[in-house]
Structures are given as structure tokens and as C-alpha cells.
Amino acid sequence: MKYIDEYRDKALTDKLISSIRSLSVKDIILMEVCGGHTMAIQKFGIPSLLPPNIRLVSGPGCPVCVTSRKFIDMAVVYCRMNNVIIATFGDLIRVPGSVSSLEKEKSMGADIRVVYSPLMALEIAKQNPGKKVIFLGIGFETTSPTSAVAILKAHNQGAKNLFLLSSHKVMPPAMAALIDEGVKINGYICPGHVSAITGTQIYESIVHTYHLGCVVAGFEPVDMLQTIQMLVKQYEQGEAKVEIQYRRVVKPEGNVKAQQAMEQVFCLRDDWWRGLGVIPQSGLMLRPEYSIHDAEVMIPVDVPEPVEPKGCICGEILKGLKTPKECKIFGTACTPSDPVGTCMVSSEGACQAYYKFNRS
């Protein structure tokens, strides 16, 4: 397939591995903050190709993983209401809440529909004018513009029965919060698809405040290895700068149309991240002019503060402090078919990545 096979070329990966080995002298820890990278790193066995002084750790880059249990609990309350349809991405329905999951509720008759686009939620709303359709919006800057467009269309088309329950988040405050909390890393493997939207400006403060290299990476083995080579080179030379490895998709200025859609519909608020707690100005909520589509405003529900599941160390895994293999319930009480923590539920979660590709 075009620009997939070329970026899996063995001769190129061999050259990059050899280059990394010749460049890298100092111990270095690099963190990826994208669930797609977490999966790619394990799928392609990238750690096994690197010298022992280079360590890769996963950060809070999987949307399902960082989403609060309270969000699931709210969705469960909504789906039990009369005349409510829940529209959600597939990963979310299996996430355990405090008392139930959307999957369990669906099996008991709740109207929960898996969609692959927020626009499908809008279509469901238009086809069911007598019902309230609540779209569960999760994800970072890659996904939030798509929710923004769906809300704009609903607003313009008078589809007042489409609501957004937003857990959309923005990435830079979490990247800063990790370092502020004392997590020791030497560079960030920056998310490719988030950056396709935002551009690279969002990483400048990380570079300047913390003197950490930030390289925007693609998702194939050549991409991952070239990114590591670029970060190693920066670190060995005492540099910290923003670079783009994933140039075939990411432009420095990002996708301006998508940024404008986000800006028009959303404003920032404090938000809770698994492992990191509440991070100021790290979440997105609908602006007041679109609040008729805000589920929290229009259909308020009160759910108790949830308790994280016992034995689960997702919070520490999402900060790169522990690996899934250090979790006592990994692969035993917690598996992809019967997950305890969000990192095992999500197809972008570190625990599922390790379970699939690096269990032994």
C-alpha cells in the first residue's frame, strides 16, 4: 500500500538502527503520548531493536485510558433514561464504570449505538426527532474538531436533540503536568495525528520550559526509528527543539480549518486525567452559545465520585512510572476479554498493547 510498505522497508530500518546505535551514548528515556504510537511500538517490536541505554515509556496518550470513571457513570445514567439514545465510539462501551458498563446496559436493552463518526450521531438524531441523542465525545485535538463540526451542523440544521457529553481533552497541559510532577524523561515522541491538527507550536513551551526535545512521529517502523534517532541526536548534542519526522502529513501550522472549528465551538476548562488528577485548562467544553447541545447543561445528572478499581495501576502506567508487566493483575484478573482497567480495554492502551505483542 502506498507509503506504508515504503515505511516498513527492512533496509531502511536496519540503517536507522545502526545510526541510532552509533549516535547514542547516554542513557535516555523517551515518552510517547499517543495511543497509536504505544500500539505501533509494541506491534513492531521497536524496544527490542534499540540498545539497552534507550528506554521507551508510555504516557497519557490513549483517550479511553485517561477518561474518568465518572464519565462512564454519567453515560450509564443517561442510557437508563427514557427516550435517550447513546451514540459512542466502540472502545468506550466496554470500559467498566462504578456499577455497570455501556456494554452491559446494551445487553439489558438500552439503546446504545456504536458509531465511527460524530456525524453518524447527528444522522441518528435527525432520524429520531422524539428522542435525545447523546454523543460521548472523547479524544484529543484529532477528534475534537470532528465533534465540533457535528455540533455546528446540528446547530445550523436545528437538530436540537443532539447533545454532546464532552470528555475532549488537549494534550500540552498533560505533557507539562507530567514533568511538573517529577516524571523523568529526556524527550517526547509527539503525537502524529494531534499535530496534524494543531501544528507544532503547541510544543514550543515544553521545549523552552523543560528543555525537552519534541519530535512529531508517524506510525510505521521507519517513522518510529527515525524519530528516536532525531531525539537521540538532540539529546547527545545537548539540544532541545521541535522537529517533524511525520512530514508527509504534519505541517508546522497544522490544519487551520480544524483549529477554527474547535475554537468556534469549544472553550477550555479544568479536567481530570487518570493518573494525573485535575489539570487546569486541559479539557474542552461547549461554548455558552452552543450549550443547548451540552448534555451536562441540558440534562444534568448527579453521580457520586467514583473509586478506581482495586489492584489496577493504570494511573502509574499512564505516567510512564510502571509498565503493564509490573501490574499484579495484568494478564490474569485483567485481560482484553475481561478488562479491569481502561489501559486493557482500549485498542490504544498500553496494557492491551503489551498483552497482544509483549506478554512473555
Binding site: 507509503y3 515505511y7 531502511l12 540503517k15 456525524l119 484529532t142 477528534t143 470532528t146 512530514r247 480549518k257
Partner: protein, 61 residues
């Protein structure tokens, strides 16, 4: 809306977030939206640079 092929599977994609989309372009599809186009020029350039840097290192060794 446009029809896009993902390895042979045809799905609908909203083009609202893309400037001047053209038929035949490779795009990055996310949540039913084309969120960016793939630049053939940059893709080839990245591969060329990797080959070039390594050839230079080979010469040194």
C-alpha cells in the same frame, strides 16, 4: 462528502476540514473526516533523506 477507499473498503468521508480536496488524493481519515492530505513530495523526501544520511555515514566508516 466523498467516497474514500481504505485498503479496498469504501466508506464515506466528510471533507469539511480539508482545503481544496481533489479526487485521487491520499488522505488521513479520522472519525469519518478527512483531517489532512498526504504529501507525496514530503513522503519521498523523508525516505530520500534517510538513505542519504546513511550513505554519508557508510562513507565515513
Amino acid at each position: 462528502m466523498a467516497k474514500v477507499s481504505i485498503g479496498g473498503t469504501v466508506v464515506n468521508a466528510c471533507l469539511q476540514l480539508l482545503e481544496n480536496p481533489k479526487a485521487g488524493e491520499y488522505i488521513l481519515l479520522h472519525s469519518g473526516f478527512a483531517i489532512e492530505r498526504l504529501s507525496k513530495k514530503e513522503a519521498d523526501e523523508t525516505l530520500r533523506l534517510i538513505k542519504e544520511i546513511e550513505d554519508f555515514q557508510d562513507e565515513i566508516h
